[in-house]
């Protein structure tokens, strides 16, 4: 049975004194991650026993749901694959509807180390930002992350474009290692981009005048599964994302009105 937040708050949380008073949830999108998801849930609990863990199973064909539920996570099981955007938004809707104050987003493949969540949470807990994003490419994180050259170039290029648009330096627009307060949760529950969401979402955050801070993190090698972005899809990714950003700038009604969908 999933641990409820009420009995879990008995544990002492060392991360931040304010964290204990807040209802907090970890959103973990997962697609065919049965080998890593259990460890991710365990690590999240180890970081903060009072953290409710919600795994969004994006139509996995393996035992991802079972593995997550066995570890006491709540599992939102999508009937078919929606893609990362739709999956993550399911988690934000859950967080919004269940009145959570704080949400963190951690990938189910083990790429994000929950031990670094304290750093990611810091700007949100101190009220400095509505959304904090763990970045692999800030000046402080020179080391660590290894990926193909084309992918790095793509990430840099997108970061440059986004930085110009939003008027604030953003170094890692593709990171899904995030922490959000209630405002951030509400925005993403209402409207979240599909397919490859993080870049567009970053622009959206600024258009809604929410405050975003980047925090240096290191990411691990993927524990299992495959990246949702293969080499061949990179071009489609770039074109689609740039189109979405530039056309999105001309949208007057940034958020669709409630009920209009």
């Amino acid at each position: 049975m999933p641990a409820s937040s009420s009995d879990a708050t008995v544990h002492r949380v060392s991360v931040h004194p304010r964290l204990q008073e807040l209802r907090r949830v970890a959103i973990v999108p997962a697609l065919n991650e049965e080998h890593t998801i259990g460890r991710v849930v365990d690590e999240l609990r180890a970081f903060d026993p009072g953290l409710d863990v919600v795994v969004v199973d994006d139509g996995s064909l393996d035992g991802t749901s079972r593995a997550a539920a066995a570890k006491g996570a709540r599992v939102l099981r999508l009937p078919f694959n929606l893609g990362i955007g739709g999956a993550v938004q399911t988690g934000f809707r859950f967080a919004f509807e269940n009145g959570y104050d704080i949400a963190v987003r951690v990938d189910g493949d083990g790429q994000h180390d929950p031990a670094q969540l304290g750093r990611v949470l810091e700007p949100v807990l101190s009220g400095e930002a509505d959304i904090a994003v763990g970045s692999r490419f800030t000046d402080e994180t020179a080391t660590g992350y290894t990926s193909s050259r084309s992918r790095r170039v793509g990430i840099r290029l997108l970061a440059g474009v986004v930085s110009r648009i939003v008027g604030q330096r953003v170094t890692d627009t593709t990171s899904g290692f995030q922490a959000l307060n209630r405002e951030g949760i509400a925005l993403f529950a209402r409207d979240y981009p599909h397919d490859y969401p993080e870049v567009e979402a970053t622009v959206m955050v600024f258009r809604h005048r929410l405050r975003l801070r980047e925090v240096p993190v290191e990411m691990r090698e993927r524990g299992g599964g495959r990246s949702s972005i293969t080499a061949l899809r990179s071009i489609y990714y770039m074109v689609k994302v740039l189109l979405a950003i530039f056309v999105g700038l001309f949208r007057r009604n940034v958020v669709p009105q409630e009920g209009s969908r």
Binding site: V75, L76, R77, L78, F80, L82, G86, T90
Partner: protein
């Protein structure tokens, strides 16, 4: 001038399109909403095929001297493009709604099985 055979064939084919669309609406296999563009296409092509002077005049405006029925192709193609574009918007809306349904289902199912 448009050959008479072309006018007759064009008019008959376009009229058959109109009849087929009407029949599909009657038998509830096509919703009025999606039939409208097809009906307009059929009617426009029927009129242009049957009204030979009109076709020639329009061709003249467009600078088409050698073969006026080319206007029929152009108009037909334009409408087909419009129909396809309309379908793309319909598909986009359906897939958006589909996503919301899947999300709601996952949220409700979790509540139910908890």
């Amino acid at each position: 001038m448009t050959p008479l055979a072309v006018s007759i064939a064009g008019a008959v084919a376009s009229f058959v399109l109109v009849l087929v669309v009407l029949e599909l609406i009657r038998s509830r296999r096509l919703r009025e909403r999606y039939a409208l563009l097809w009906l307009v296409t059929g009617i426009a092509l029927t009129v242009l095929s049957a009204w030979r002077d009109g076709l020639n005049t329009i061709a003249g405006w467009l600078g088409i001297r050698s073969y006026p029925p080319a206007v029929l192709f152009a108009v037909g193609l334009l409408f087909v493009l419009a129909v396809l574009l309309h379908y793309s918007t319909v598909i986009s809306r359906l897939s958006d709604q589909n996503i919301v349904l899947a999300q709601r289902l996952a949220l409700l199912e979790e509540q139910l099985l908890r």
